[in-house]
Symmetry: none
Subunit: 156 residues, 2 copies
DNA sequence: TGTGCTCCCATTGACACCCATCAGATCCCA
DNA sequence: TGGGATCTGATGGGTGTCAATGGGAGCACA
């Protein structure tokens, strides 16, 4: 197992803790950092999450721009500055940081959505709406899945 | 753990001391010099910071991003001359040097912003403005994150 | 003698760690 | 094939520990 697959909905307790789904934790088991990195990216109402290793590879990608260049600054800000390192507790839970709760509107429950090398965390109802939209759009546009020629480094 | 991630806002006490966030300190724990190097670079209203080791790599020009190779003298002037070596006290705090306070406009609070291999220290409100800018600009320019083609070590 | 800095100690509040319970799935065996 | 035993994952809650902060005592240097 190496990719995040499936959707799981878990409870957020009054301390702000959520269990990261066991299948996801299993994928992260080999990571040096026992936990997840959560950050905001383009999708509104959702936060992205990944392993620390994935983040480090992003960093190297960013560094291919010149360090201290404007592009690097902007990207570093958008990604690293608004990232949160969330360690697992003994039971595989993480604490939802306040800023991310605000962005996502997560309250009593959180939905974990696999996206391959990363996953997202949603407020369940917002996720439902998003899924409905996606269904309609794919039907209308008759989008089909295309397998990508395998070359290793997929982007996001 | 090897990259500076996240934003942390701490108080500056009347002696000019600030706690360096614990996660950052942990990354610096293996450094020979127990403290941080703070210096001014192009970003107005902010100071850059890193470990002593990172500074040495800059100096040798062996950093991954072959940085300023032509302009080493300029680099030496703009960075090394205005660098400050700030040791931790017993509680992991550093003292903000007057010149850097002046540049950044830091007063009662200071925000530590992870940028991967380095981090920045900001006056919190100036940081908010900068973050908003960065977000707009990355969206407008459609800058996207790219994973560097994986050089072997790819875990997950 | 005064100023500035470095240790050192006290306080506090958050959260990391620990343990208990509960629900669902699987297995075992009569 | 049905019922109990077992296991794992999800959830709830208590408490000790540590990070952040404030302040004071001692020391160096002017």
């Amino acid at each position: 197992m190496s990719v995040f697959i499936g959707t799981f909905e878990n409870k957020v307790d009054r301390k702000g803790r959520v269990s990261v789904p066991a299948p996801f934790r299993q994928i992260l088991a080999t990571s040096v950092f026992q936990g997840i990195i959560a950050f905001r990216y383009t999708t509104p109402n959702a936060m992205e999450a990944c392993s620390l290793e994935f983040m480090e590879r992003l960093d190297q990608g960013v560094s291919d721009f010149n360090l201290f260049s404007d592009e690097h600054d902007d990207l570093a800000f958008s990604i690293f500055a608004d990232s949160h390192q969330l360690p697992f507790d003994g039971e595989g839970r993480v604490i939802m940081p306040a800023p991310l709760i605000e962005i996502t509107g997560i309250d009593a429950r959180a939905a974990f959505v696999g996206k391959g090398q990363t996953f997202q965390i949603w407020e369940p109802e917002a996720l439902q709406r998003r899924k409905a939209e996606a269904r309609i759009r794919t039907r209308d546009q008759k989008l089909t899945l295309r397998l990508r020629r395998d070359d290793g480094g997929g982007s996001q």
